[in-house]
Amino acid sequence: MSDKILINEPHFNSMVLIKSWPDSSEIMNKILEKYLSLSQLPKVGEFIFQDNIYCATLSPGHIMLFSFRENLCPEITKIILPEIAAIIDVSHSRRGLRIQGKSSTNLLNKGIAINLSEDNFPELGVLQSSIHSIGIILLKLEPNNYLIFSYRSFFDSFYAWVIDSAKEYGYALS
């Protein structure tokens, strides 16, 4: 068993938060399903990767899109009108960190008080929590492979926490 943990920072060019109104969530879902060529949007607490876009349902009617593509927000704004949902461009709000390796779950559970084991939180799951008082959105890409977004201004602190915590357990980072 290797205690090696791989970390890297993927650069997402677009992040869009979409919040529907109570009476328009179905319409919003249909528009997004069509846009993303999906038969169904992910359930709450799940995400899907489609057309180079991570589409995560954070809570009922609240969808977050992460993409390496540019100008995703203007595209979404064109197809979803203000009467249907609020579109918030947060492309610069967050930075993402990918953490993978057999011990990554153990490392993250040091800071996240949510059971990240496969039984409790299977792959393609998304959750919002905090690590060391830093708000995060965590996507489980596959077992022991995570994509975590923290607010940009907190990112240095978050990164320092990851490095420091890995040292505690003697995990090798690369």
């Binding site: 938060l17 109104w21 203000p82 609020a86 918030i88 610069h92 607010y151 940009r152 240095d156 505690e168």
Partner: protein, 968 residues
């Protein structure tokens, strides 16, 4: 009592690894595997501490975490840890331990004079002595009492070691790795569920090491070894030793402390000394075993009196003999088992004294032991080392003793039965129930997802625990003969119940006499069970005695509910890594590195780091901010305002929503315009202020103060969720989306015109409070013409990622105008000169009228706080209102100073600065009926430094009241 090493090799000892350690500076020797207590006994030292109140010499009493006496301090300097039971400290090379609560030395402690005054130092001493005597007398005495009382002292230096925190999730948590815990783990392991097995000791096995019987034909040591091997082969089983579960909280969440490196001189690099664990378990199995119960008799705290089971553990596990001439005083069969095992291990047990008249004759097997039944130990004597005990026949029905007889011994082992360790069960709220057979409380029916097994429910024998296994020759069950305190011919001798807090039978009787009947009152009045050991060895005896005093049964007397922590938890462990630089997270703006590279002194604003000043050529902070503020007034400056809270307010009802939360009107703010707004709390006081920019018919960009951003967002979400759920508005934090910089000064327009070509900066193109979009070198920016400084100024927002690029571009464009970056000090100076409010004025108690914004509040609409802002208390003419102060004597004014009119305190200073524009020291202040005091002279007093300044009360708008500078 004169301890020594036995020929028998202790099971836990590695004799190939001798260890040197010190106690009170003197070097001793032990072996790897020893505890400090076992090594000290082996070195012939049993007194490691003095008692809490009377400073009586106390010997090692137990062999585990229940130890009430032998509390010591270990390590030194920042690593000093006081009040550690010597019985649980694992020996390592270089260990330094120190006695506590004794001066000048452990053997000669002056404060032992307290014993002379012991008739005064009884239960309720403080109430009886100090109530009604006045505070002066108490304060006089407090100094001496605090020096005399107490346990170890905490170190004053910071602990250099690392403490960590982590979370553990488990389907099944098994607490206790003794026979019941191991058996439960074996059964559960094959189910595939995740199992976490924890034990507070270094070794799994618990009481099995002293078990004589066989399990499935194996002796106990072999069975432990085989069982651990089997469990270790399961991937779903995690086994943790040196881990104490100290608290059982709601929703099956438990707190535990893993002692990762306490058994080492120093932790390895990056290794924590201790790790705090939050354990989330679907099901908990509590197998915490039991603790041997003392017997209460006169002089029972004499060094040399020890729990019988402890002596057996020292002999069996550590190869240590506790004395040369040993007697055992028991009320149950287990005392005989202990006596025989000890003799087999080489300990000279000469006498067994049993309170019971009738004893199973099969227990009397050793011709070298004198068995005395129907007798009790009435007293033990010996000062610093036991030398003699008195025994006497005991008549249980009348509770009287016959003629006493002396026996010379150096060690008395006592065995009063076993008390189940129900602490964790009790913490869940489950009432304990009394088990008459074992004369103790056991857990009642679980109210949560836990179960208890083994000795904690009174199943003391292997036959009761391993119902499916073949047990042969197991130890007999300890069924105690009910005892309270034993009479003595020596009425002055103390009979201690709670050794750690020096609570005796006399204290209980006094409390009872004074009317304290409930166990809850008894506990608090006498402090019984409230010491660091949580009454592990005292509670049951105390309950029995109290029940007898009241003439009721023990269950009728009841028991208290145990509370966390089961064992003390070091503050460092609770703090974890939240110390020093890691105390809290830091937010950095995208220009952070630039600021540092240009000489900025950074200051915390909330958790943001902002430049305070940019020092040049040996400048002081004052020099720097004066230079920076002057530059803004004379030419142009730039300040990083990224830390401002930014909230996206979006939806068809966005304007309506803002109109309801701001005190001034927002319905008709045109697209492309910003408006300053003030929010009130529901009680009518000011909550926050800021500008909101209308970006479209349905979208606003709201700015808040740096410190209040999260509170404002939270309050807006609350209102939308609970108060106005039908409004179609969403609010989202976008503080991190935008980098912001304010360009201020008469040359601000000239500067921006050089770098932003696609914005018309004329009065018509971008009027005051106008908002528009543009680009700097093709990077999109949002520009708003706002001013906090009073000068013509613009706020430039850009996507965070581009923040540093835009910042540098503007700096470059302003070079011709000698653009000056400025920090929070100059920012404050400029706004104070203008009389603008900020955090010190928004102190949660002020109203809009107090700070001169009353006329802004709309009278034509309802908004949050609109009703209560009109209440009498907030409209009182004598309320403090904001004024300006100018120092008469050219002396700095201190924020927080009291404002005196004559000798009357009429208010306080909120913000102060040196004003380069006025060339004077100025301040904003809140003073009673301030508007009528313009022109008066007041005194600003700063009592902490005994400073006084005379000041003139003026209008708070010190500079350019008409606002002409906005259009320069």
């Amino acid at each position: 009592m004169s301890g020594s090493r036995l020929k028998h090799h202790g099971q836990f000892i590695n004799y190939d690894k001798p260890i040197k350690f010190t106690f009170d500076g003197k070097e001793y020797h032990g072996f790897l595997g020893d505890t400090l207590a076992s090594a000290m006994i082996a070195n012939g030292k049993i007194i490691l501490a003095r008692s809490f109140k009377y400073h009586r010499p106390r010997g090692i009493f137990s062999a585990g975490p229940e130890e009430p006496n032998a509390l010591v301090s270990v390590r030194s300097d920042g690593r000093l840890e006081p009040n550690s039971p010597a019985t649980t400290i694992e020996l390592y090379d270089g260990l330094d331990a120190y006695s506590q609560n004794a001066w000048p030395s452990l053997s000669f402690d002056i404060m032992s004079i307290n014993q002379v005054f012991s008739p005064l130092l009884v239960a309720g001493f403080y109430y009886k002595t100090f109530m009604g005597t006045g505070q002066k007398f108490w304060h006089f005495c407090e100094h001496f009492i605090r020096r005399a009382a107490g346990m170890g002292k905490a170190g004053l230096e910071a602990d250099p070691d690392r403490y960590e925190k982590s979370n553990i999730f488990s389907d099944v948590l098994i607490i206790g790795g003794g026979p019941a815990g191991l058996s439960a783990a074996l059964q559960a392991a094959s189910n595939g569920e995740t199992i976490t097995l924890v034990d507070e000791n270094k070794h799994f096995g618990g009481s099995l090491y002293e078990e004589q019987g066989t399990i499935d034909g194996k002796n106990s040591s072999s069975w432990i070894e085989d069982t651990l091997k089997v469990l270790s082969e399961y991937d779903n089983v995690t086994m943790m030793t040196r881990t104490t579960v100290y608290g059982y909280f709601d929703d099956n969440t438990l707190g535990a402390v893993e002692r990762v490196a306490d058994h080492k001189e120093q932790p390895r690099k990056n290794e924590p000394r201790q790790r705090h664990l939050k354990i989330f378990a679907k099901h908990v199995i509590i197998a915490t075993g039991s603790l041997e119960r003392p017997i209460v008799f006169a002089g029972n705290d004499t060094p040399g009196v020890m729990l019988a089971n402890a002596a057996l553990r020292y002999a069996n596990r550590y190869g240590v003999c506790v004395g040369d001439n040993v007697a055992i005083f028991t009320n149950n069969d287990d005392g005989y088992n202990t006596a025989h095992q000890l003799r087999n291990l080489g300990v000279n047990v000469t006498t067994v004294i049993d309170v019971r008249k009738k004893v199973d004759q099969t227990l009397i097997t050793d011709n070298n032991i004198k068995y005395i039944t129907g007798n009790v130990v009435t007293s033990a004597r010996g000062g610093k080392a036991l030398s003699v005990i008195k025994i006497a026949p005991y008549d249980m029905p009348t509770k009287t003793i016959g003629k006493e007889k002396k026996i010379k011994i150096d060690t008395l082992l006592i065995s009063g039965g076993y008390t189940p360790t129900i602490n964790l069960c009790s913490q869940t709220g489950t009432p304990a129930v009394f088990d008459n057979e074992i004369q103790s409380f056991i857990p009642g029916p679980p109210t949560r997802k836990w179960e208890a097994c083994g000795a904690v429910v009174g199943n003391f024998t292997l036959e009761e625990i391993f119902i499916d296994n073949k047990i042969k020759n197991g130890n007999k069950k300890a069924i105690p003969f009910a005892l309270t305190d034993i009479p003595s011919s020596n009425n002055s001798a103390k009979k201690f119940i709670d050794f750690q807090h020096d609570v005796s039978v006399t204290d209980l009787k006094i409390a009872y006499t004074e009317g304290f009947r409930s166990v809850e009152h008894l506990k608090r009045y006498t402090t019984l069970g409230m010491a660091a050991d949580q009454g592990k060895t005292s509670n049951m005896n105390a309950l029995a005695i109290m029940a007898e005093l009241r003439g009721v049964t023990i269950p009728e007397a009841g028991t208290t509910r145990f509370r966390a922590p089961y064992k003390p938890v070091a503050l460092g462990t609770l703090a974890g890594r939240s110390v020093g630089n890691n105390y809290r997270v830091i937010r950095r703006t995208p220009m952070h590195d630039w600021h540092l590279a240009h000489g900025a002194d950074m200051i915390e604003a909330g958790i943001w780091y902002r430049p305070q000043v940019y020092k040049k050529n040996g400048e002081t902070i004052t020099d720097a901010y004066i230079r920076e503020a002057t530059a803004v007034r004379n030419s142009v400056g730039i300040v990083d305002v990224t830390s401002l809270g930014k909230i996206d307010v979006q939806g068809p009802d966005a304007a309506e929503f803002l109109n309801r939360i701001y005190a001034n009107a927002f319905l008709k703010v045109p697209i492309g315009k910003a408006r300053y707004g003030v929010m009130l709390r529901e009680d009518g006081c000011m909550f926050d202020d800021g500008t909101s920019w209308r970006l479209s018919e349905t979208q606003f960009l709201m700015t808040t103060t740096t410190a209040n951003a999260a509170n404002v967002l939270s309050e807006m979400e609350r209102l939308l969720t609970l108060i106005w759920p039908k409004l179609k508005v969403h609010v989202s934090s976008i503080s991190d989306q935008w980098a912001g910089m304010a360009v201020a000064g008469p040359n601000s327009r000239n500067t921006l015109e050089k770098v932003i070509k696609d914005i018309d900066f004329s009065e018509e193109g971008l009027p005051f409070m106008g908002v528009t979009d543009g680009t700097i070198n093709a990077i999109p920016v949002k520009v708003s013409r706002l001013s906090f400084s009073g000068e013509r100024a613009y706020e430039v927002f850009t996507a965070t990622h581009h923040g540093i690029t835009i910042w540098k571009n503007i700096i470059q464009a302003g070079a011709d105008f000698n653009i000056t970056p400025y920090g929070t000090e100059a920012l404050g100076t400029l706004r104070i000169e203008k009389g603008h409010i900020s955090g010190p004025e928004l102190d949660g108690r002020t109203t809009m009228s107090d700070v001169g914004l009353g006329k802004m509040a709309s009278s034509k609409k309802r908004y949050v706080g609109s009703v209560l802002k009109e209440r009498i208390g907030l409209t009182d003419k004598m309320r403090k209102t904001m004024v300006g102060l100018i120092s008469h004597d050219y002396q700095p004014l201190k924020a927080g100073s009291l404002v005196l009119e004559g000798s009357k305190n009429i208010g306080h200073l909120t913000s102060t600065t040196y004003s380069p524009a006025l060339n004077k020291y100025i301040a904003l202040a809140l003073i009673q009926d301030g508007n009528t005091k313009i022109g008066n002279t007041v005194t600003a007093v700063f009592p902490l430094k005994n400073e006084k300044s005379s000041a003139l009360v003026v209008d708070p708008h010190f500079y350019d009241k008409e606002g002409k500078r906005l259009y320069v």
